[in-house]
Amino acid sequence: MDDDFLRTLENRALDIRKDVLRLLSLSQGGGLLESFALVEILVYLYWNFLRTTPASPLDPSQDRFLLGCVQASPVHYAVLAHRGFFPREDLWSYGKLGAMLQGSPDIRRTPGIRYPVSSHGHILGIAAGMALGLRLFHDNASEPPRIVACLDIRELQEGVAWEALRIAREFSLENLVVLVNCSERGDQEHPSIWLDVGRIRSRMNLLGWETLEGDGHDYRSICKAFESLEAFPGIPRAIFFHTRIGRGIPSLEESGARPDFSDRSWLAGALHELDTFSRKLRKGGGA
């Protein structure tokens, strides 16, 4: 990944963070902390990994992306808008009555959303089903689409997630890539055993999955993890990305506190903090 492209991705991420702030301050609520944890991963996916054609979002030859963490849907919406799936103006009516962008993504309303939303861990079962369906219906002429499902590490506390992991391995769903967002909270002194990435990775390895690890805010690390996937063909694979909630606004990153959207001066302050942080990052040449 060359420096120019890296710079483009960084600018894109900054724009997207700002739009997430704007849409959340308009809707007066939503998962800001969770959204900011996923910005770099989603920017990388939509600008450097997934084969998507925003003009025909239901094209069967496209890659599929499923986001399990509903709280982070504002960032997914912002990414889809910037990628051209729908006009950026639609972001400003997020969560409002009659809006295309519902509080939880709606497969029947939003271009680019190809999956139904339910509670924690369900996205894995749906992704496994899509991979099985693709096997049946994809013509062998072109390269088969990939299915990327992203969920929070806390979702792996659900039994239904582990059922899906077992099924995916039993059917050797080689087109399925699971991204596990291991977001740390700044205020958490004693992370629970469910945030013990090593322990969860070894459970998945025992099931027969190949697992990798990367830094979810460093494009070079994300890129390396995706490139390393190629070394493990024929089985489903997962990447555990370490992220920080509220990433980009140091005060939120440290405290892990929910911002007060009703405070009118808050938005200006947050935008300013974002700019300062991103300038500092560039000078320092990375996180």
Partner: protein
């Protein structure tokens, strides 16, 4: 080997052969030789995910998202309550063509006792927006309904028929039905102007024998097989009670969420008539053969006759 399982598999196989884009997602491996043969010749069209009811439904939704019509089922009647959230959010809400076919609710799993007798299955599914709810009363109707749902690509729950009632059912020979069978339809099995008798599935034979007894008493019953619980065949039901002026609904189902409740609301809106319900009431079941349970919960033809004469006495005079 369980006859109900074989019976169900034979139907699934028939649909798989007729609808090229159909897939079966099951909790267990195939039981019949024919299905095993089909599964090996058509990889990916019979998928067994093991004993994971919730994931079974999620996988079914995922396959349907890729364009298939999915016939989903498992051998536990508890698929519906256990998978309610998955059916609601991942099948009905996105309106995916997943047909949840059996196993039979009601008393079909009689010997297994109350935990496995789902006497509220139709109510659960009737509550859910976008869901189609069907209860066939013989094999051919069952297949026609499965095909209709598959062609229309709608989410549906089809209460499977236990093999037992097919073998013992007089309706199998008694009604040679040549009319249409479709979502939103019903069958008029006997015409009459004294009382409307309405039911579905296993109870139909009881209705027909009750109608014969009533005829000897001078009451000509109209017998309706209301195999489509949702959406209701409203016009047909209303046109019947407009002639008879009263109705009895007989159901192998709890009172709450029953067809009787749906009919009460329908008639109340358009043409109020006395409506008596013969059903399991507000209780769970218990162990017993389906026949014994029907006697115990007063669902036999003599109970239908009793209710019909009472309804007839209160009928709306026209």
């Amino acid at each position: 080997m369980n006859r109900s399982m074989l019976f169900r598999e034979e139907l699934l196989l028939s649909v798989l052969r007729k609808i090229p884009q159909s897939v079966v997602v099951e909790g267990e491996e195939p039981v019949s030789h024919e299905m095993r043969e089909f599964a090996s010749q058509h990889p990916g069209r019979y998928i067994s995910v093991g004993l994971s009811e919730q994931s079974l439904l999620l996988v079914a939704a995922g396959i349907a998202l890729e364009g298939a019509v999915v016939l989903a089922g498992s051998h536990t009647p508890l698929l519906l309550p256990r998978g309610y959230e998955q059916i609601r959010n991942c099948i009905a809400l996105p309106r995916l063509p997943v047909l949840i076919f059996g196993p039979a609710g009601g008393f079909a799993c009689g010997h297994e006792g109350a935990p496995f007798q789902l006497v509220e299955d139709l109510g659960l599914m009737r509550l859910m927006p976008e869901m189609h709810v069907l209860v066939p009363s013989d094999r051919d109707i069952c297949e026609k309904l499965l095909l209709d749902c598959a062609l229309r690509r709608v989410p549906a729950y089809i209460r499977a028929l236990p093999a037992l009632s097919v073998e013992s059912s007089p309706i199998y020979a008694a009604t040679e039905w040549s009319g249409p069978v479709k979502i939103g339809g019903a069958r008029v099995l006997r015409e009459g102007d004294g009382v409307t008798l309405c039911s579905y599935g296993m109870m139909i034979p009881q209705l027909l024998s009750a109608a014969r007894v009533l005829s000897r008493q001078g009451i000509e019953a109209e017998v309706l097989d209301c195999y489509c619980i949702k959406p209701l065949p409203e016009e047909l039901l209303l046109s019947s009670v407009r002639r008879t002026g009263c109705c009895v609904v007989v159901e192998e189902h709890a009172q709450s969420g029953s067809l009787g409740e749906a009919l009460g609301a329908l008639f109340g809106r358009h043409f109020p008539v006395p409506l008596l319900s013969v059903n399991i009431g507000c209780s769970f079941g218990q162990s017993g053969t389906p026949g014994e349970l029907m006697s115990y919960y007063s669902l036999h033809s003599q109970d239908v006759v009793g209710a019909a004469t009472r309804a007839w006495g209160m009928r709306r005079r026209l």
